[in-house]
Symmetry: C2
Subunit: 447 residues, 2 copies
C-alpha cells in the first residue's frame, strides 16, 4: 500500500511536490493556511512576479507542465541598468539564447494547484498547522474560518510552508540540538507598479529585468503579461534615506523625483502605492536537520529561506522536489534512506545559494554601476566565450547550468573571483583588457 | 518612586543582578522555574563547579560578597596536562600570582540568593515563565507545583533564565526581524567524579585544572572543597569512540583503561556514574536585539550562551551585571538609554567570547599536547615577560585583564596569532626560539 502523505503548505513548492508524489501513486493531501487564491483575493506581502530559470524549469518539465507555463512567461535576456542621469545600459545575462523568465506567482501557483487536483491531490484551505505529534504521526490543524481543530494521520509529512514555517517551528521546539539561524538584512522591500501603456504596450523594454542601482539601495522592475511592470524598492529600514525617513507624500515624491526620475514619470500611483503596500523584510534561514527518520522533511523556503537577489528562491525549492524525486528512484521508496540522502545532498547547496544570494545584493544595487566591475565582467565574458569549458561566470552556473550544484557554483565562483582580483590589479588593465597578455595571465592562474 | 523590577531566573546572573538593583533601591522580585536549592535537591545537568576569574570577581567585589566567596574558592594556578603514557606536565596560566578559582555552582548560587534576600529581594520558586505581555508590562507564570497561573506587573523585566531562556523565546516569537542563531557542537559532556582520598586529601594536585587531552576529546577535572574533583568528559555524540559507541559497562571500563588509565585508577564509581549521569549538549546562542525599549533586557546566558572552554560563561554574565550597573550611573537611571547602551556595548563582547570559547576547545583537547603549540606558548611567555606592555596572550587578556574588553582581546589575539604564525615558520625555530633574532622579528612584526 502506498503511503499517506501530508504536505503543509500549498504554495509553489508544496503543490509541485504534491504532483510529483501523486504521479508516483502516493495519496497526497495538502493543507494551506491561506484561502484558495482561485476564489479569494489573497493579501499581498509576497512578491508578485518571480524569475523562473533553468533549475525551476527542469522540475516543471519533469511534471509535464512547462509547455503551459511558457505561455505565461516573459523572457528576460539581460539587465537594463537605469542610471541616475536618465541614461541606460543593457547587460546580457548569458550567452545567446540564454534568458530567465518573469512569471506571475499567482498564475503559476494556480496552474500547479489545478494540475495537483487533476492528479487526485486533495487541497484544504484555511488550515493552519498548530503542532506535529511525532509519536503518533499526527498533524494538528486549526481552521482559520471556523476555528475547528482537526488531527490528520500521515505516514510521511512535508513542511513546505515557507520562510516562517509553522512545521519548522514545531520540529525545532521538539528537537534536541537543532541547528538554527535566522538572519535579517537591514533592508526591506516594497512593491510598486508601472502600469501598462496604451493598448497594453510595455512602457519600458519588455524582455529585460530593469534595475535602478543607487549604491545603498535599488529599484527593480519585472514585466507582467498585461504590459505592466511590478517594481520592487529594496531600501534600508533606518537611516537617510530609508523607510523610516520617508513618511510624507512630499518626501516620497521628492525622493523619487531626485533619484528615480525616469521611473517616476511612468508610475502615476507611486505615492498611493507606497502608502498602501506593506514594507516586507528579508530573511535568511539556515537549519539542520531538515528531517525526522522516515516520516518528515522540510522542503523549499521552510528548510532554507534565502534573499531574492539571485532570483533563486523558487528555483531552489523546485530543484529540491526534483532531487527528492530522483532519490525516490535511487533508494527504491525506502524513505529512511531517501530523506537522509535528501538532506545530506541538499544542505550544502542550500547554504551555498543562501550565501550567493546575500552577496548578489551588493552586486545588483551597487557594483553594476561601477566601471571596474563592468570591465571585469567584460574580460570574463570574452574569456568565457573563447574558453567555455574553462570558465563560466558564477551567475551563469547558478542560473543556466542546472547540472552544476549550487555549492560547486559557489566554489568555482570564488576561484574565479580570486583570479579576477589578480587580473584587475594588472597595470593599465583598462587599456589592455582584451590583450593576449591578459588572456595568458588568466590561463596561467587557472592551471 | 523606584521601579518594580522582575527578574526571570534565580541562577547566578539573576541573583547577582537582583543584588545590584536592590542595593540601588529598586523593588526586585525574582521568579525561578526550579525549586529552592537551599531546601530541595535539584537535579544535575549543569556543571557542578565553575572557574571564577577576574571579570566575575570584579562584580562580586562590587556587591561586597567576594571576601566570603574566597572561603569556598580553590585557586588553580595552571593546567596539569595528563598524557596518555601516564606522564604529566604543568602549564602556568599567567604570570606569578595569577590564578583562576574553582567554585561550587550551588554554593555560590546559595550565597547569592541569601545575600539577595538580605537585601529585600523576594524570590519565588517553581514559577515558570510562560509569556510576556509587552503591551501591559506583564509576565505570566505557571507554578510547577500546583499549576496555578499568575500575572505579575513590572516596570522593568530581565530575562536571566539561561541558555534555553523562556523569556528569550517569548521575546523572539513576538519580535520583528529578530536575529537569532543557536549552534550546537557535535560534542556532549558528562560529569564524573574523583572522590576525595583518605582524610579528605586531594588525589591529584589540588591547585590546578587537570586536562587529559586526547585529540578529538578530553577529560578535565576541577577541585572541590571536600577533596574530590568533578570531572567532565567532553566527547563526540557520534562516531568511534563516542557516547553512541560506549553502551556497555565493559566498553566504558575498557575505553577508560586504554585512554585515561591514571584517572580511572582514582574513579571507583566511573561506570555507574557514566550510566546514571546525563549526557548534556553544548549550545552557543547569538541573538539581537536583547532589549525592548526601556522595559526589558536579556542578560547572561539568555542573551549569549557560550561553550565552557574558556571558563567564561559565568564571568561574562557577571560582567554584564557590572557593566549594566555602571550604565545606570552614567545615564542617571534613564532606562531607555541604559538598556540601549547596554546591548550596544555588550553585544560585540558577547560575540567575541562566544567565538573565543569555541576556538579554545581545539586548544584544550588537542593543541596542549602539540610540540609546536607548546613551543609557541614558550616563545610568547618569554616575550610577554620581557615586554608586558606590548604582548599579553589572549588567554591572559580574557582571564586576568578585565579592563580589556572581550572584543579587544579577540582582536589582539588574532594579531598576535598572525605574528606567531610567521615566527613559527622561521627556519630552525626549535633551536633558536629564545634567540635575539626571534625577539627582533617579533618586535618588527609588532610595529
Amino acid at each position: 500500500m502506498k503511503k499517506e502523505v501530508v504536505i503543509i503548505g500549498a504554495g509553489l513548492v508544496g503543490t509541485l511536490l504534491s504532483i510529483y508524489l501523486s504521479k508516483r501513486g502516493y495519496n497526497v493531501t495538502v493543507f494551506e493556511r491561506r484561502g484558495d487564491m482561485r476564489h479569494e483575493k489573497i493579501a499581498a506581502g509576497r512578491s508578485i512576479n518571480l524569475a523562473l530559470s533553468d533549475r525551476g524549469i527542469r522540475a516543471l518539465e519533469e511534471v509535464g507542465i512547462m509547455e503551459e507555463i511558457k505561455k505565461i512567461a516573459i523572457p528576460m535576456h539581460g539587465r537594463q541598468i537605469h542610471h541616475a542621469d536618465g541614461s541606460s545600459a543593457y547587460q546580457a545575462y548569458g550567452k545567446n539564447g540564454q534568458f530567465i523568465n518573469s512569471v506571475s506567482r499567482a498564475a503559476l501557483n494556480i496552474m500547479l494547484m489545478n494540475l495537483a487536483e487533476e492528479n487526485d491531490v486533495k487541497i484544504f484551505f484555511h488550515e493552519k498547522c498548530e503542532f506535529i505529534d511525532w509519536k503518533n504521526n499526527e498533524v494538528h490543524f486549526i481552521n482559520g474560518s471556523d476555528e475547528n481543530t482537526s488531527t490528520v494521520k500521515a505516514d510521511l509529512i512535508f513542511g513546505a510552508d515557507g520562510a516562517y514555517s509553522a512545521a519548522r517551528l514545531t520540529h525545532q521546539l521538539q528537537h534536541e540540538r537543532f541547528q538554527y539561524q535566522q538572519y535579517f538584512i537591514d533592508y526591506g522591500y516594497k512593491e510598486l507598479t508601472i502600469p501598462a501603456g496604451e493598448n497594453g504596450n510595455f512602457n519600458i523594454e519588455k524582455n529585460a529585468l530593469h534595475i535602478w542601482p543607487r549604491g545603498n539601495y535599488m529599484l527593480i522592475a519585472l514585466p507582467n503579461m498585461d504590459g505592466s511592470f511590478t517594481c520592487t524598492l529594496f531600501f534600508p529600514f533606518e537611516g537617510e534615506p530609508s523607510f523610516s525617513s520617508l513618511k510624507t507624500k512630499e518626501s516620497i515624491a521628492g525622493f523619487f523625483e531626485e533619484t528615480f526620475a525616469d521611473a517616476k514619470k511612468i508610475m502615476p500611483t507611486l505615492v498611493d502605492d507606497f502608502f498602501s503596500n506593506p514594507t516586507s523584510s528579508l530573511i535568511t534561514v539556515k537549519c539542520f536537520p531538515w528531517i525526522r527518520g522516515e516520516k518528515f522533511a522540510l522542503i523549499g523556503d521552510a528548510a532554507h529561506a534565502i534573499v531574492p537577489f539571485f532570483g533563486q528562491g523558487m528555483n531552489a525549492g523546485f530543484e529540491d522536489c526534483s532531487v527528492l524525486n530522483g532519490l525516490i528512484d535511487e533508494h527504491n521508496e525506502d524513505w529512511k534512506k531517501i530523506l537522509e540522502a535528501f538532506q545530506l545532498s541538499r544542505k550544502p547547496d542550500a547554504d551555498a545559494i543562501a550565501d550567493l544570494a546575500l552577496a548578489n545584493f551588493a552586486e545588483m544595487r551597487d557594483k553594476v554601476n561601477d566601471a571596474t566591475f563592468l570591465l571585469q565582467k567584460k574580460i570574463e565574458a570574452k574569456f568565457s566565450n573563447k574558453y567555455p569549458e574553462k570558465w563560466t561566470p558564477a551567475y551563469g552556473l547558478v542560473t543556466f547550468s542546472p547540472d552544476v550544484r549550487y555549492s560547486e557554483a559557489l566554489r568555482r565562483g570564488n576561484v574565479q573571483q580570486k583570479i579576477m582580483d589578480e587580473v584587475m590589479q594588472m597595470k593599465n588593465i583598462e587599456e589592455k583588457w582584451d590583450s593576449k597578455e591578459v588572456e595568458e595571465k588568466m590561463l596561467g592562474l587557472l592551471s
